[in-house]
Symmetry: C2
Subunit: 347 residues, 2 copies
């Protein structure tokens, strides 16, 4: 049984790995050879009046990759200032999110690792896959809204997917934005430049990737030009009229229904997946696009939209399996006795 780290993931996992693993996983999901567990959130009060404790569970099995996965988050979440912020209260000011990978053939645990790097890569890689099927074939300019952790993953993913002319980024804090752009230019080899406003970033862009933690709209209806492809990772990012106006809207997954179980007296934020007036449960999904059972973009003039929500266990199974294979091949990770995590009594 391997204990792997975020550093191992940074060192080993590439965006092309993640995009390839996810594309295969979605194809298996569409043919019902891979399946997500129910997702469940449990929320209770804590000793801090402004924060809740949240335990989040996801899971999936991908037969073809031979893996089952559990991804869990054990978070203290503050809702001060109307923003959800995770507070790192574990020793050393750290967060707790874990991925556990299992063998479908023997049941045994294969690896345990923190979810952070894999989490970011799967979100960006999935947004890139959406663009692969929904953006124009000649798309060369990209706008990224955001200059944080998720935005970085999106820049890396879209740069790995396509030959690009330029990526224009926008975020309100100028200094952070400039440092983000120069770092990303170096990292990807693509010209990544700061824009003066969100509107300037998206004007003339073929692909717009919203990758923020925002609880307000960052992409407005009037910016949505013919031929453009827009992607969101949080419901509030898009003005609701954007999805109404789109010729084609695809969601990440329709099979996963979240259930939240909440103890009395806690305040839970609005569903960050909801887009007012848009029924995610009847939209075509990415697995259907990948499998070809739902049509992608039909013309150069269509406005397309990818709602990269909700996250699924399948993503962690696919990217986690690729990570595990590469770690084994490279001899990375801490080996612990598998028998510490198995048993001789029938559970």
């Amino acid at each position: 049984m391997l204990i792997l780290s975020n550093d191992d993931a940074e060192q080993l996992l590439t965006m092309p790995d993640c995009i390839a693993a996810l594309e295969e996983a979605y194809r298996e999901q569409a043919s019902e050879q891979a399946v997500n567990a129910q997702r469940s959130d449990v929320v209770t009060s804590t000793q801090r009046p402004d924060a809740v404790y949240s335990l989040k569970l996801m899971g999936a099995v991908i037969r073809g990759l031979g893996v089952g996965v559990v991804r869990l988050n054990s978070d203290i979440i503050s809702f001060a200032n109307k923003r959800q912020v995770k507070i790192p209260l574990a020793p050393g000011n750290r967060y707790t999110g874990l991925v556990l990978l299992f063998s479908v053939d023997t049941g045994e645990p294969l690896a345990i690792f923190p979810d952070g790097v894999v989490q970011r890569m799967r979100v960006g890689a999935t947004s890139a896959l959406g663009a692969k099927y929904l953006a124009r074939g000649d798309a060369r300019t990209v706008a990224v809204i955001g200059a944080g952790w998720q935005a970085g993953g999106h820049v890396m993913a879209i740069a790995a997917l396509r030959e690009l002319e330029e990526i224009r980024c926008y975020s309100p804090t100028r200094e952070k934005l400039e440092s983000f752009c120069s770092g990303m230019s170096r990292h990807t080899g693509v010209k990544v430049r700061p824009a003066a406003s969100a509107e300037e970033a998206v004007r003339g862009a073929d692909i717009v990737l919203c990758a923020t933690n925002a609880s307000q709209h960052v992409f407005l209806e009037r910016w949505f030009a013919p031929g453009m492809h827009v992607c969101t990772i949080r419901g509030p990012e898009l003005e609701p009229a954007v999805v109404k106006q789109a010729d084609l809207v695809v969601v990440h997954d329709r099979s996963v229904h979240e259930s939240a179980h909440v103890t009395r007296g806690v305040t839970v934020p609005a569903n960050r997946h909801a887009i007012p007036g848009f029924d995610m449960s009847v939209a075509p999904s990415l697995p259907e696009l990948v499998a070809g059972t739902s049509p992608g973009r039909a013309s150069a003039h269509q406005k397309t939209c990818f709602v990269n929500l909700p996250g699924t266990g399948l993503q962690f199974a696919a990217v986690g399996a690729a990570f595990y294979r590469k770690a084994r091949a490279a001899g990375l990770g801490r080996e612990l006795p598998t028998e510490w995590f198995t048993e001789d009594v029938v559970p």
Copy 2:
């Protein structure tokens, strides 16, 4: 972060510990200070034609005990001969079932341990709690149907709950039954004797505990005498007329709805929780009994029935918290760096 073992659990955990922890947890659940996650099973085909892979997820948070829990099982299950049998295919012919315990106050992982011993103790302790509220106050004779792993937990639990005259056990394999009874007599200090038949075991018994892996009825309607309390841990154990005839039927939990997600082409067995004609979703539950919001036994003549189904994450949180506290106090377990299981990036 502690790695604990089944041996540690055998050494440290007592039935009175488990019964007390569960009673407190049910009280918190009734007042909505503790809550279960959705339970989810994912099932796919395997390389073996007669077996499936099953990934089972449970979770819960108990505010008062300060713990969140995830319990998972990664099993290869054979359905040969119409019986569900887990096949130990992990290295060393072992099974994979794990409990992960987290702090509600910091989010950090506290312990990881195999689920086997805790799993058995929580089932037996819960059946004993059912008997505490539903059996007659003067109940002194007990029948246990079964002589396996779960039956052992039930003998230990009921012996810990009450001063008993005699426990009579029945199981079809005589040699196994006799060895079970002599072992349990030594272990509990109560007279545990083998019965010649299930009917002989239950005749005149005040409490009947069915604790088998049976897919056929082991307790029949015509044996259900006035004043008797009957408990089951598997739907098929009871002739369905037993629950119809009972004056009072209480279920373990109504809050947990299982969801099964299955890939194409796998054969999944019938729901082992179902009792034909009995709607578990409207029955009173053990947390309500413990909290006093549903009435227990009302007279010495009532026939009462406890359907100790379905299992919940809450049980693992309660018993797991007690186990962790005792292990810390005793200095048992393998200490691993908590930072292997936490991270400095926001997941």
